[in-house]
């Protein structure tokens, strides 16, 4: 059996709110004992509402935040967020939700893309530049964008830049924290297509965090539903979508707006019945 790209064992994260005089400190369990494994080339979607711990989980597996307890194994290597080696940093990268906030406004796109190489590899500046140019075309931008600043780009283009930056080090897996929820519908479709194209080309593994079930259904192989720090359901996409097991998953499905004609017809009929 091959080693999974990512293995997480019993991961927890507590936040302690500072207490004061006569006010005891409170412990918030943001993530409570999460375990899963992820094979190469697969997409795991993590679903849940705000405050359920899905972004905390993302920060732990990208080694930004330390876990309170539990183990993270990346390509079989045990990772510790307190001492991230260059090797591990190259294996895991993240794309954030808001492409307006995640790019430095004073840094040219070329420098944005070269910086991971500068920090983590010993490539010469000409080699770095060449790689960055190649990556720009891969994500659907032009080489002449190299010397521009982030404010010259639209939201969708910025998200392409953020994806390009994350891919510069050829990571083993990529964490995508709500990558399309700040984007318009048509741009969202382009970015989702890009992610699929890149996955086919490089055999990438994604951890895709989202609260939009229609996007999840389109992109995921496996779905993990989180609720107040717990994983309440983790199965294949088809299993979750055809027969959701947990009560909360069903609530999520019921809340998701539906665009099929039958559903609209039923709603209009209900409304007319209410008026008469």
């Amino acid at each position: 059996m091959t080693t999974p790209v990512l293995e997480v064992r019993n991961l927890t994260r507590d936040y302690i709110t500072s207490g004061g005089f006569l006010k005891p400190a409170k412990v918030l369990h943001a993530v409570k004992g999460v375990s899963f494994t992820l094979e190469k080339g697969k997409t795991l979607a993590v679903v849940g509402e705000s405050g359920c711990g899905k972004s905390t989980l993302a920060r732990m597996i990208t080694l930004i935040d330390e876990a309170t307890s539990g183990e993270i194994l990346i390509d079989g290597i045990k990772a510790n967020a307190a001492h991230v080696t260059r090797e591990l940093r190259q294996k895991v990268q993240i794309v954030f939700q808001n492409p307006y906030g995640s790019l430095n406004p004073r840094q040219k796109i070329g420098d944005v893309l070269c910086e991971p190489l500068l920090l983590n590899t010993k490539l010469s500046s000409a080699e770095r530049r060449e790689k960055a140019m190649a990556m720009l075309t891969k994500v659907g931008l032009q080489p002449e964008h190299y010397n521009r600043y982030p404010h010259m780009f639209s939201g969708g283009q910025r998200q392409r830049i953020a994806i390009a930056r994350a891919l510069m080090l050829n990571p083993s897996f990529l964490v995508l924290d709500e990558p399309v929820s700040a984007l318009d519908l048509s741009v969202q479709a382009q970015i989702l297509n890009l992610l699929k194209d890149l996955q086919d080309e490089f055999g990438l593994t994604y951890v895709f965090i989202s609260h939009d079930l229609s996007v999840v259904r389109y992109i995921a192989d496996e779905v993990m539903v989180m609720y107040f720090g717990d994983v309440v359901e983790h199965r294949s996409r088809d299993a979750v979508f055809s027969a959701p097991e947990h009560e909360y998953t069903r609530t999520l499905f019921a809340a998701t707006p539906q665009t099929d004609v039958e559903h609209i017809r039923a709603r209009i009929a209900r409304k007319q019945a209410a008026v008469v």
Partner: protein, 282 residues
């Protein structure tokens, strides 16, 4: 007669490269008891059109229209002081970012009280009682306590409920909701949409939903206007729009929905428009 009637609305801004038309010749009409959805992507001018109606655009905007009438009264020739009596009272608006549109320095109760005082002249006990009643109406439990809360002490969904409470405080005839649920989770989104549609049906007001989310349109609207780059692409009742979209742009938008994906890749709006529709203005 329509509740709000706008004909040939154009909103232009001066830019360094000449006049930019954010809204170009759009007609909008809403009746009592009707939910109209205006759909479009960012930059389609859907918010600008409504802000122009409310008179909330900066002075640099050039607003022109052939007709802009609310209940038969001409909004174009009306003086500012007369307009202020209608805006906020008979026409109310709620915005996308509930936390950003409440004032962080004042309690919720103070901010609701301000509206009641300005438009209805309610003060003291009467204003307090009405504020409690409003919060209960929008589904906030322990309304008495929440009046003393500051916006940062409440969740996004609760703040949006407070915004709705302020908007309906004067029993408006028309409520304009500009992306009311974009910043919220799906479960909270459902609650807020149910609340808005429920209030609309109870009070019989007109409701304009500005959104980019086809799901929200499908769940709430009676009639839909699709806008693209300042132009109206299509206007239809909700069922015919989803069943049989007339314009290429609407068709492209609908096929870009992930749930309608056929095969492995999503068709994007640009490939649909540039292959199928040479007539669409770029």
């Amino acid at each position: 007669m329509s509740l709000l009637e706008i004909k040939n609305l154009t909103v232009a801004f001066d830019t360094s490269v000449g006049l930019f038309k954010a809204v170009d010749g759009i007609d909008i009409a809403v009746d009592n008891r009707e939910v109209l959805a205006i759909v479009g992507e960012s930059g389609s001018g859907k918010s600008v059109a409504m802000l122009a109606t409310m008179g909330l655009l900066p002075a640099t905007a050039r607003v022109t229209a052939d007709v802009m009438r609310f209940e038969g009264r001409d909004l174009l020739t009306m003086s500012d002081s007369e307009k202020r009596k209608i805006i906020g009272k008979d026409i109310a608006m709620i915005f996308q970012e509930p936390i950003a549109s409440l004032n962080p320095c004042f309690t919720v109760g103070f901010q609701i009280g301000e509206v009641l005082d300005k438009h209805l002249g309610l003060k003291g006990r009467a204003a307090h009682n009405r504020a409690v009643e409003l919060l209960q109406q929008v589904g906030i439990r322990d309304a008495e306590d929440k009046l003393k809360a500051f916006p940062h002490q409440m969740s996004g969904g609760q703040c949006q409920r407070v915004m709705i409470a302020m908007a309906i405080s004067c029993n408006p005839k028309l409520l304009i909701a500009d992306e009311p649920t974009t910043a919220l989770d799906v479960t909270i989104q459902k609650q807020i949409l149910d609340l808005l549609v429920g209030l609309q049906q109870q009070t019989g007001m007109g409701l304009i939903m500005i959104t980019h989310d086809m799901g929200v349109v499908a769940e709430t609207a009676d009639r839909v206007i699709v806008q693209y780059k300042g132009h109206k692409m299509e206007e239809a009742d909700v069922l015919s729009l989803f069943e049989n979209p007339q314009s290429n742009y609407t068709r492209a938008l609908l096929s870009a929905l992930p749930e309608n994906a056929v095969g492995d890749r999503l068709p994007t709006v640009s490939d649909m428009l540039f292959t199928a529709a040479p007539g669409v203005a770029q």
